[in-house]
């Protein structure tokens, strides 16, 4: 079924919308939740919550790309649950590694004073990504949006893990200086 038709089902308040969404994007959303949570049942719970959130979000929303619309919901819910569950215990899980990598870009301090426009920041990051090659941009998004493991990314690009790690490392440094140059002290 087309995304448009699924969205139409949501607007029609037809519960089939949920069946169709989970049929078409269940696996996709599950893969995102699993990367962030690691625990099968937690991930499943977040995916199920995704449909509920989608149900409440449509209408008013009419997303053009349903996959990312749903994926973003899953990512948010999963990350919220992650923060709730893992406030104390941190360790070598995939998502922890992803966050540790991101900590190289930020100071780690609470930004009470430095309260900048988040929308502005998002635009800058999009600009930064636009300037990258397709392959590097995809690697970055897979790692920091999907929280895919380095080994999965390496497999996708049929390259070595080391190559992926090095590429990501360079991109983080580049993003940090890109943002600093534009006045962001993260």
């Amino acid at each position: 079924m087309t995304d448009e038709n699924i969205v139409r089902l949501y607007w029609d308040r037809n519960e089939q919308a949920i069946t169709e969404s989970s049929g078409k994007y269940g696996a996709y959303c599950h893969s995102i939740a699993k990367n962030i949570l690691f625990d099968q049942s937690d991930a499943e719970e977040c995916v199920n919550d995704t449909w509920l959130h989608a149900w409440n979000a449509m209408p008013p929303n009419k997303p053009n790309v349903l996959s990312t619309f749903l994926g973003k919901i899953t990512r948010n819910i999963s990350f919220d649950l992650y923060k709730r569950l893992h406030r104390e215990k941190r360790g070598g899980r995939n998502i922890d590694l992803v966050l540790d990598e991101l900590s190289e870009i930020v100071s780690g301090k609470d930004d009470v004073e430095n309260h900048f426009e988040e929308e502005e920041l998002k635009r800058e990051i999009n600009e930064f990504l636009k300037g990258e090659t397709d392959e590097r941009r995809r690697m970055f998004v897979l790692r920091y949006w999907y929280a895919d493991s380095v080994i999965d990314i390496a497999r996708r690009f049929e390259t070595g893990e080391n190559n992926v790690s090095v590429t990501l490392n360079r991109m983080r440094n580049k993003l940090k200086s890109y943002l600093t140059e534009r006045g962001y002290d993260l």
Partner: protein, 484 residues
Amino acid sequence: MKKEELFEVLGDIDDKYINEARKSNPGKKKTILRWTSLVACAAILISAVFVTPLLTKKPAGTQPDYPKGVVAMAAVYPKAVGVGMTAEEFLESDESYTWWTELRDRINKAYGLSYDMEDYNLELMSNVLVSDKENTVCSPLNTYIAFSMLAEITEGNSRKQILDMLGCNDIQELRKTNKLLWESNYADTPVFKSVLANSLWMNEDIEYNKDTIKTLTDNYYASAFSGRPGSKEYSEALRMWTNYNTGDLLKDYTEGMEIKEDTVMELVSTIYFKAAWSNFFSKSLTQKETFHGVNGDTTVDMMHSSELTTYYSTDLFEAFALDMTDSGSMYFYLPKEGVDVNELASDEEVLKVLHHEYASNNPDKATDAFVNMSVPKFNVSAQTELIDTLTKMGVIDVFDDSVADFSPLTKEDRDLFLSKVDHTAVLEIDEDGVTGAAFTEIAITEGAYIVDLSVDIVLDRPFMFIVKAEDGSVLFSGIVRNIE
């Protein structure tokens, strides 16, 4: 800023970047949708001797080019949908939406019929699927349709015995049931095929009752053929039609098909089914593993997957189901240690688990779980002679020419009887099945829940399977005892 906040900010990057990241790499091998192919065919032959013509010569049907001397009136079947599209294109098309909505309506109309067919299905399975060493497989729905046509051409006690076996009160009810079953089970799209076909093979020298023939062509979508039984051409046409309607998958068995000289009418019913898994088996996880068959150990391609699904555990078996895109589900039953797989063939709970409400009514036997499944690739086929089975199921008169009543067929005075009832079926499940397809029935409607059970099921010894259509019909059932 904290790293968690940055992670959240990154969550809102441009959709197109998120989208392109997961796309397969250009120039690299594309994932190909693969099919599960299933096929079955049933044939019923009625033999006797005699003469007189009925059919006006009409142009031959659209399908195969039948040999000279054979007159064919092809039934009009629903048009294929999404012709020329790939599976992916079809799933994204508006045509798919319209087709699916209409099918949904037809399925709703047929809903519940499968419950009435349950006694018949169980009785058939308990007769056909039991064996010591051989693999067994049959298509209950296919035989049901074939025997319904048989009921149409009989009268009196002969018909009553068939109606009783099929669990139907009268012929009108049976006719209506068949029409609904047909319409809810007929599908021909790039993603899913469930193609039913019926045919009548008449003797050009016999005068048939036109009303009966019309009933069969109208209500059972039967193609009508007329020719000279015993001729090479007529038997060749029969094989062509059957091969065409079973996707050439049963050629080994159709070779021996023939319309013998003394045939008054032959009825052939076919089903061709092709569906893709909703959730794929990852090819990289398939391994060579041992299957402990009845005839000894063999090395098989074992597919592996982990899926959130309903896990059934009864006194006799453990079971789970895999969904197919736009279609029904396939159930796998592994007998518990110490239980003979033959016991499952007559266990009514095997069919009860197919009911949607089974899980909620039997929380002690059905739970949601992550099933770590190991499923071997297999291809089983079997030809079964059904005369004994019919006799055991109470259909007796039609086999005895002194009492058999085939009066609806022809007014001519003949001693007709049923001389041959063969059922042939093949079922294969294909390895990595489906990638990127889209219809599942995970229990989303019940809302969010947490699953904490995880079970392993390894189908490495004889097991049973059932392929259930979306309307609940049992399309195929079988027992795998050995895998070559």
